[in-house]
């Protein structure tokens, strides 16, 4: 059986931002009982034994965990490549220096747009200036910097300016990821899905920038799958390369799989090795035997693995169906209907978005 390369450690779902495109679960109440430091450290040891080489410390906002430095140090001592995925709110100079001394390898900072007014509006809190300061701090401390930008209908027209910001901040990488529709983003899909014209313009800008920045900045552009002919090879195959541990200890083949109808698998009751190798959730969509038509006999079944199981479930109610993004899917009209609505004439005012709450019980 394949061994996992990467562990996405979602340390908490608490977050100072309230982005409407967040892929965290809608039901945040189920994740209040977070793993302790000792429990996370045990998870990291088990992950290393299982073959994990990359540790992504994420959330929510991982800096809200007081033990973040300790957990980064543990990952590093286990030889893992440690990557912090953060909003940068809470990344003080002292905290940053502690993380650097703990051996943290890489920092990824999110920005919501290229300038304060839009970025703060999307983030739901004044944050842009602090993010920019944190980016400069990361570079000053000698880390490589990746900027993470989620693209959607309300900011995609600014992608050129976002790239100029990344250049000015001397980012080593930028990930321009079109929104994937899970969690809060799923709830807000109508307000987030861009039009065809917006996407075509953005792609022109990104290709030109990529050429201009060759050798200076790595520009990663994640395609919007609603506009693709074929689905994405989700997670590089189900339970094949990656695993996620949620704040409460639930273990998932991908960060959005908590919605699927399988018995929960938790590090509080089972070992990571058993969960990876034996649990029904991880076994469910390995290989190709589970596939229905048209995937079962499709030439691309080992290329895209039938697409995303969570997307199939969200759209059709059956996680084993072909990802409806695929133009060969019998459910493809579910996607084309959403795309048609995104390209219809609309009033100039954008649709209102539902912000994700900062934590359970907060507005």
């Amino acid at each position: 059986m394949d061994r996992p390369f990467g562990l996405l450690a979602e340390l908490t779902y608490r977050c100072p931002l309230s982005c409407a495109y967040c892929s965290n679960p809608i039901d945040l109440a189920g994740y209040r009982d977070e793993l302790t430091t000792a429990e996370w450290q045990r998870v990291l040891v088990e992950a290393q034994e299982l073959g994990v080489l990359q540790l992504h410390l994420s959330g929510g906002e991982p800096l809200l965990r007081r033990d973040l430095v300790e957990l980064a140090a543990t990952g590093r001592e286990l030889g893992m490549y440690t990557n912090l995925v953060t909003s940068a709110l809470g990344l003080s100079r002292r905290r940053a220096e502690e993380l650097r001394d703990a051996g943290l390898d890489h920092v990824q900072i999110s920005v919501q747009a290229d300038e304060p007014a839009m970025s703060d509006r999307i983030a739901g809190t004044p944050s842009f200036e602090r993010k920019v300061e944190a980016c400069r701090l990361v570079k000053e401390l000698g880390w490589p910097l990746t900027l993470n930008v989620v693209l959607h209908r309300q900011n995609i027209d600014r992608v050129g300016a976002v790239l100029r910001l990344a250049e000015e901040l001397a980012a080593d990488r930028i990930e321009l990821a079109n929104t994937q529709y899970y969690g809060w983003a799923w709830r807000n899909r109508a307000g987030l899905l861009p039009s065809q014209a917006q996407l075509e313009q953005a792609e022109r800008v990104v290709s030109a920038a990529r050429e201009r920045l060759t050798g200076r900045m790595d520009v990663v552009y994640v395609l919007p799958d609603y506009y693709s002919r074929y689905p994405k090879p989700c997670m590089g195959g189900w339970a094949k390369r990656q695993l996620t541990v949620a704040p409460n200890g639930d273990v998932l083949p991908c960060p959005t799989a908590q919605a699927l109808p399988f018995p929960r698998a938790s590090v509080r009751t089972d070992s990571l090795a058993w969960i990876w190798n034996e649990s029904p959730l991880f076994q469910a969509f390995r290989g190709t035997d589970w596939m229905q038509e048209p995937c079962r006999t499709c030439d691309r079944r080992e290329i895209d693995f039938g697409g995303c199981r969570c997307q199939a479930f969200l759209l059709t109610g059956d996680a084993a169906r072909t990802d409806p993004v695929c133009h060969l899917s019998p459910d493809h009209d579910l996607v084309t209907d959403a795309v048609r609505a995104a390209n219809a004439e609309r009033p100039a005012v954008e649709l209102p978005l539902v912000p994700r709450p900062h934590r359970v019980g907060s507005p």
Partner: protein, 90 residues
């Protein structure tokens, strides 16, 4: 890379490591794991920004019977093109 006096070093975002679970050398970066053979790992292990390409080749000659200068240079160039290695003037 222009001359054997150039000083190659690993890019700041990558780390050379040994993957004990799979018994192989790897080069780690945030989103990728590049699997290396023993010779490649040896060469990259010598890319410390202090040793010149010539010094790296000399060091390899002490370890291996046959070392082809042009192959080492070509390998370093490939690694540089993939942003794994940064080469500064000697």
């Amino acid at each position: 890379m222009r001359t054997v006096t150039d000083l190659p070093k690993l890019a700041p975002h990558v780390r050379l490591s040994f993957d004990a679970a799979r018994n192989q050398h790897v080069l780690l970066s945030p989103e990728t794991v590049a699997v290396l053979n023993g010779t490649s790992a040896d060469i990259l292990g010598l890319c410390d920004g202090q040793r010149s390409v010539a010094a790296i080749i000399a060091e390899l000659r002490a370890r291996y019977e046959r070392v082809a200068d042009d192959e080492v240079c070509a390998f370093l160039q490939r690694m540089a093109a993939r942003h794994y290695v940064v080469i500064s003037d000697g």
